[in-house]
């Protein structure tokens, strides 16, 4: 059994640099937000915890959504995914977080079919 030392060194170096580079931070969904409401804050906290059950937070951060209502439909579809674990009352809060992140207060105002 021979060990290719190059490959081992590369992998260990990558792990070490990743470990040393790890920093704690807040909720990435809140980055760039100005004065979010309590509901938005709560929704973002729920999204951070529940959405990562199936995918990384990066999916949310990278999403390019056309309209506020798209987020509403999208989150509803995700809540119906098997084992999603998102409660009914949590769905509109997550939507508010994501709409505010994408469209600000104007987006919240145009949300259809749910209370602001």
């Amino acid at each position: 059994m021979t060990i290719n030392s190059h490959a081992l060194v590369i992998a260990l170096a990558a792990m070490t640099s990743a470990c040393s580079g790890a920093q704690s931070g807040g909720n990435p969904l809140l980055s760039g937000m100005e004065n979010p409401s309590e509901t938005v804050l709560e929704g973002c906290a729920i999204a951070k915890q529940k959405c990562t059950r199936c995918h990384t937070m990066d999916q949310l951060l990278a999403a390019k959504i056309a309209t506020p209502d798209t987020w509403r439909l999208y989150v509803h579809r995700m809540r119906l995914m098997p084992g999603a674990g998102i409660r009914e009352q949590e769905e509109p809060k997550i939507v508010q977080c994501l709409v505010y992140r994408s469209f600000g207060n104007e987006g919240l105002a145009t949300l259809k079919g749910q209370a602001k």
Partner: protein
């Protein structure tokens, strides 16, 4: 050329989406992974080592609350594949019809199969699709993921109480394929355009999944599921298979513990002279057993140390019980266990570096070590 045309079509749809302000979402992900086998001078003898790219481009359209559609194309080791092309017709939370090309509901991991969704470079052994070492000798895994097929799926969710829900799914799909007289699935044939994307035996495979999830506290939740699939895989409709699975997931805050078990019972063609076709002779009753069992498991712990840094530990394995063809390097009882330690670090805006070390413990071959280094992210 075909790839270019499809990309142009997708971008065209994206462009019109912006113009019409329709409820459309375009998303994608890329992973570049390098697999090294430091215990071998030439890793290719043990598996598909080296660099692989997995690209997915997905367009989701919500026409309204009841109708949505998803189209996803992927480019990976197999070249261009259509991973999704289906409509969802939802009359209520309890009743949804999915029609088209999709991954039927089975187990838990297939939901997270996209490399941008799971923290390790590769998949658990029972769901591996060619990245495990000794993949040829083992004829890959039990249910390579994503298992994409044509068919129809009826599914739904019943919410009870504050946090408890029950999910179900029933489906009929083309099913796995192989040639007449086969001794196992032929995974290449199952996805090959040369055989067309149609059922090979005029009999759909059927399957179902039942699941439940509930919150024990605000921070602690649990999900559990049972899955099954059955049918015939040869053109003559003679060779049967059944797959059963159980999955369990516990979440404490953002720490996840996931476990699954899958077992497949597969019928082999005995042929005209089984004594020369197979490695082992008949049983005590003088008859050759035409079935083999392939089962496997994984259990993994995913711990986010910070928002950017995840640590993952996984233990998985596979076993094959039953007769084997005469030239197989496996025995009547073969097993592989694998131990994985992995980290994933978010660099910026979704770009994530993943690295893992895997120790393979084979019952029939020398033990091996594998290293993964990957860059992955959604866009």
């Amino acid at each position: 050329m075909r790839v270019v045309l499809i990309l142009i079509s997708l971008l065209g749809l994206l462009g019109s989406a912006e113009a019409e302000e329709r409820d459309r979402n375009f998303a994608g992900s890329v992973q570049l992974d390098y697999l090294a086998v430091p215990t071998e001078d030439v890793g290719r003898d043990r598996g598909l080592d080296g660099a692989t790219v997995e690209l997915s481009l997905k367009l989701a359209i919500d026409f309204n609350d009841q109708v949505s559609s998803n189209v996803k194309v992927c480019v990976a080791c197999h070249g261009l594949e259509v991973g999704m092309a289906f409509f969802d017709l939802r009359s209520s939370d309890l009743l949804n019809f999915r029609v088209g090309r999709f991954t039927p509901q089975f187990g838990s991991f297939p939901l997270r199969h996209d490399p941008a969704n799971h923290r390790t470079s590769d998949k658990p052994l029972p769901y591996d699709m060619g990245r495990m070492l000794r993949t040829d000798e083992w004829n890959m895994s039990i249910l390579p993921t994503p298992w994409v097929d044509n068919g129809v799926e009826v599914s739904g969710t019943k919410f009870t109480g504050d946090s408890t829900r029950f999910d179900y799914a029933l489906y009929a799909i083309g099913g796995p394929k192989a040639s007449s007289g086969a001794d196992d699935f032929d995974f290449i044939q199952s996805r090959s355009r040369d055989r067309y994307y149609v059922d090979n035996n005029s009999r759909p495979s059927i399957g179902a999944k039942l699941g439940t999830s509930f919150d024990l506290t605000d921070d602690l939740s649990m999900a559990f599921g049972l899955s099954g699939m059955a049918g015939h895989y040869d053109p003559d409709n003679d060779l049967s298979y059944q797959i059963l699975g159980a999955d369990l997931q516990l979440r404490f805050k953002r720490i996840y513990w996931r476990s699954e078990y899958i077992v497949r019972r597969t019928e082999m063609a005995l042929g005209e002279d089984p004594s020369t076709r197979f490695k082992y002779g008949p049983g005590a009753d003088g008859e050759f057993d035409p079935y083999f069992i392939k089962d496997g498991f994984y259990t993994e712990l995913e711990v986010p140390l910070t928002d950017d840094f995840d640590v993952i530990g996984r233990w998985d394995g596979m076993r094959r019980l039953g007769n084997v063809v005469a030239n197989s390097p496996l025995r009547s009882e073969s097993a592989v266990l694998r131990y994985t330690a992995a980290v994933a670090y978010r660099l910026s805006m979704g770009l994530r570096i993943k690295s893992s070390i895997e120790f393979y413990d084979f019952s029939d071959f020398e033990d091996e070590t594998a290293l993964h280094l990957a860059l992955a992210g959604p866009f």
